[in-house]
Symmetry: D2
Subunit: 261 residues, 4 copies
C-alpha cells in the first residue's frame, strides 16, 4: 500500500531570500518531498501557497494520507476556507505533520486549541534533540540523541496542550529547552509536531532529521477508510434504541429534526 503524502510549503523565502534559495533551490517543500520519496511505499508531492486554493482542493485532500505543513512569513495569507478543509480532513483520518514555524500556522492552531506560543532566538546555535520515548516508531533507527550544529532556538513554555506522547526534547546552547517532538490525535487524525527546520539552515538535508520525517509519514498514516462525515451528530430515534425504552417526559425536538449547531 502506497502512502500519499503532500508537503505544503509557503514558498516565500525561497523566492525572496538568497540564503534560503541557495539551500533549497527547488524549495523546502520539494526537499522534504524528495526525502519522503526515498522511503519505500511513499509517494510525496507538493503544494504551495501560491497555487489556486493553495494546492489543497477538497479532492486532493481526500486522496492525501498525510499532510506535511511548513509555513512562517505568510501564515495570515492562508485562506480560512482552506484551513477548515484541512482541519476536517484531519478529523476524517488524514495525518498531519507540523514542521518548525508551523506552530503558528492556522491549521495547527485550530487543531491544538492552545496559543502555541514560545520564545525564540535566531543565532545559529547548537541544538541537541534527546529521545524521551524509547523505541517510539517516530525515532526508529535513531540514537538516544542527535545534534544540529546551527538552528534557531525555540524555548519553553510552549503553549500547546499536554501531548499524548513526548518523543523528543531539545537542548539549546544558549540555555533553553523545548519539547521538539509531540504526538496528538484529533478526530481520527494523527498529528505530529517536529521542531527543527529554520529556513536559513540546511536542516532538511540532515540525515537524522530525514529519518524522523520518513518515520513520521508512516506513523501518521492511518490505513483505515476516511470517515465520510467527521462532524456528524446523528439522532438515534427512540424506536431504534439498542435496548427497548419508552419515551418519557417533555421534549424539545420533533421527530427527524436535526440537532442544533
Amino acid at each position: 500500500m502506497t502512502i500519499n503524502a503532500v508537503v505544503w510549503g509557503e514558498n516565500v523565502h525561497e523566492q525572496t531570500n538568497k540564503v534560503v534559495a541557495d539551500l533549497y533551490p527547488k524549495g523546502m517543500h520539494q526537499a522534504i518531498a524528495d526525502c519522503l520519496n526515498a522511503a519505500d511505499g511513499v509517494n510525496a508531492t507538493t503544494a504551495t501557497l501560491q497555487e489556486p486554493e493553495h494546492g489543497l482542493t477538497k479532492e486532493r485532500l481526500a486522496q492525501t494520507d498525510v499532510l506535511f505543513w511548513w509555513g512562517h512569513a505568510a501564515h495570515g495569507d492562508v485562506a480560512d476556507e482552506v484551513v477548515e478543509r484541512v482541519v476536517e480532513a484531519v478529523w476524517s483520518g488524514m495525518g498531519f505533520v507540523a514542521l518548525h514555524s508551523a506552530h503558528f500556522a492556522k491549521p495547527f492552531l485550530r487543531l491544538m486549541g492552545g496559543p502555541c506560543n514560545l520564545t525564540w532566538r535566531e543565532a545559529g546555535e547548537r541544538e541537541r534533540l534527546w529521545l524521551t520515548s524509547r523505541n517510539h516508531p517516530i525515532a526508529a533507527g535513531l540514537p538516544d540523541y542527535f545534534e544540529l550544529e546551527n538552528e534557531e532556538m525555540y524555548g519553553e513554555p510552549f503553549g500547546v496542550p499536554e501531548p499524548l506522547e513526548t518523543v523528543f526534547i531539545s537542548w539549546f546552547q544558549g540555555g533553553e529547552v523545548f519539547r521538539s517532538g509531540l504526538t496528538y490525535k484529533r478526530g481520527a487524525g494523527n498529528i505530529f509536531y517536529f521542531r527543527p527546520g529554520h529556513e536559513t539552515y540546511p536542516t532538511y538535508h540532515d540525515a537524522n532529521v530525514q529519518t524522523v520525517l520518513r518515520n513520521a509519514v508512516k506513523w501518521a498514516h492511518n490505513p483505515a477508510r476516511r470517515i465520510a462525515n467527521p462532524t456528524d451528530a446523528p439522532n438515534t430515534p427512540v424506536d431504534q434504541a439498542l435496548e427497548p425504552i419508552e419515551e418519557r417526559g417533555p421534549r424539545l425536538h420533533k421527530d427527524g429534526e436535526e440537532g442544533y449547531r
Copy 2:
C-alpha cells in the same frame, strides 16, 4: 479568597418553551449561579446572549475566575469576537466549564480542536454516571455512581481529544455510554466538560449534579495571577542569552524585529 464565577446562558428556550420556563423560571443560568453561590467562597453572577457583547466584555472576563457555559439552540449567534476573547481569557488562566450541549458551543470547539460530535436521543431515559477517577476533587462527596431518572442521551464516539483525566462515564438505559466528565488544560486555563443538563429536565435541581458544579468551580479556579499576554512569542536577543553564545550563520530577522504570525 472569593472565586468569581460567571454563568453564561443562552437564555433562549427559557423564553420560548413553557416546559423550560416552568423548570427554570429565572433561567438555567440563574439556577446554576444560585447553586454555585451556595458554596462557601464563591460569588457567581450571570451573563446571557442577549446582553451587549453577550455580557462578556473584556473587563468582565478579566475579573472572572471561572466561566460556566450553557448553550444549545443559538450557538451560531455568538459573536466570533466574543468567542476569541473567551478563548484568550482561558489561555490566560480563567477556568472554563462547558455544560451539556456546549459540546458544540464555539468557545469549546475552539479550545478542543476536535469535532466534538456525538450521537443523541431525547427520550427522558435514565442516565447513571459512574466515577472513574477515585477521590477526584470534582467528585468530592459523591458516591461511586449517581442517577438522573430523565435525561437526554449522548453517545460515543465523542469527538473530543483524549482528556487529561476521565472523571465520569455515563450509562444510558437505551444502550449507550458516554464520557461525561473530562478535564483539559489549554494555555494556563483549566477546562471541565460535564454532560448532564438537557433543558427539558430538572437536572440542575439535582443534588448530585449541584455537588459536581460546586466542586468544578473550585477545581477550575486557578489562584495564580492571570497571564497578561497569553499569546506572546518574545524574541530573546543573542546578547541576553542565558548562556554566552555567539551568533553564527545567516539570519532572516533583523534586531528587534517581531516574529511572524
Copy 3:
C-alpha cells in the same frame, strides 16, 4: 516480517470445569493462538502455567514480539521470577496484551502500578462495547459498537492509571460501565488491556473479539530491536560530556563507580 506472538494461558478451568472444557477443548490459549494465526504475518504459539518456568524462559521471551496473558484462578501460582522476567521483556520492547481477568495478573499489576480493582458480577448479561477513539488501529474493521450476548460484568471505578488512550467502553445490561480497551506504554513496550473473555462464555469465538485480538497483536508489536539492558542507568563521565564542563564542588561517587540502586 513475521510477528511472533505467545499466548500465555493459566489452563486451570479448562482442566477442571466441563463448561470451559467444552467451549475451549484445546484450551483458551490455543483458541486465542488459532485466532491470531489466522492473521497474515503472525506466528502464535502458547505457553501455560504448568510448563517449566511457565513456558516463559528468558530465551523464549527474547524471541517474543507480543505476549498475550489470560489468567484468573491461579494468579498467585505464577512465580515472581517469571513475572519480573516478563516485566523486563516489556520494558525492552515486547508488546503485552492483558485479557479480561488478567487485570489482577501479577505482570499487569507490576506494569500498571495501581490496584487494578473493579466490581464484578457473573450473570451472563449483555455487554456492548463502544468505540471511543475513531479509526484507532485496534478497532480497524469494527463498527462503532458490538455486542456480546453473555458476559461477566466488570464495573467502574477501575483502579488503573489514566491510559494513553481509551479505545473501548462497555455498557452492561445490569447498569454498569467499564473502560474495556486501554493503551499504555512502559519502557519501550506497548500494552493493551482488553476486557472481554470470561471462561464460561464463548467470547473468544466471537468474530468481533477476534478482530480486536488480531488488531492488537499488530498494534502492540514494535519492530525496533529490543533494548538490551532496559534498566541500565549509565554514568556519563565528566570528560565525555557532550559540552565541555569542568567538575566543580564536592562529590560522592568515585570515577567509574556504579550508581546506587
Copy 4:
C-alpha cells in the same frame, strides 16, 4: 485544615559523609520538613530508614496526607512490607512526592511500573529548570525558569510512564535535558516527581526549590476521606443489580464467593 506531611529520609550520607553532614546538620529530611513547616497549614514531621518499620507504621501512614521520599544509597534496605504499605496508602489517597534519587526508590518503582532509569553525571554543573505548564499550582510564584548553580546531571531517556502533566524540564550545562517535574495519579493518590536534590549540594536551601516543595505538598494533598480498602474488588450479586437482570448461562462462582486474586 492542616496538612500532615511526613518527610522520609534515608539518613545515610548525613552520617557518613562530612560534606552532606555540613550541608544538612539535622539531616536532609529535617531540612525539607523545616521548609514545609514554613508554609501555612502544614505540619511536617520526619521518618528515617533506621527507625523501627522505617518510621512508617500502618497507623502513621493512615494519618499522613503527603509523604515525601528521599533515598539513594540504601534503596535495597527498605523492607518490602513497608513498601507495599506505602503503595497501598497512596492508592487510598495519600499524596507522594518522590525527590531526586528516589527515582529508584522501591515505592516509586512500584507505583510507576516502568524501569525509571536515566543517565547521570556528578560534576556540580549548572541546571536550569524551565516551566512547561503555565500557572501550574506546583509552580505558583515561580518565574519561567530558575537555576541551580551546582547539581548532579540526570539525562533522558527517563524510563517513566508518560505523565499526566510535565511541569518542569531541566537544561544541563554538559548538554543533557531531563523531565524534572512530572505528575501522576495511582489509585486515589496524587504523585509528583521532582528531580533536584543531590546530597552534596545545598539544593534544599534554595528558595525556588523550597517554593516547589511547599507548592507540591498542597498539590498532592487530597482532602477527601481515604479509601478504606483500596484494592477491594467486590461482587455485585445479580439480585442487587441496578437494572433488573436475570442470570443466564453457566457460571463459575458460587453465591457470595470471593473473586480470584
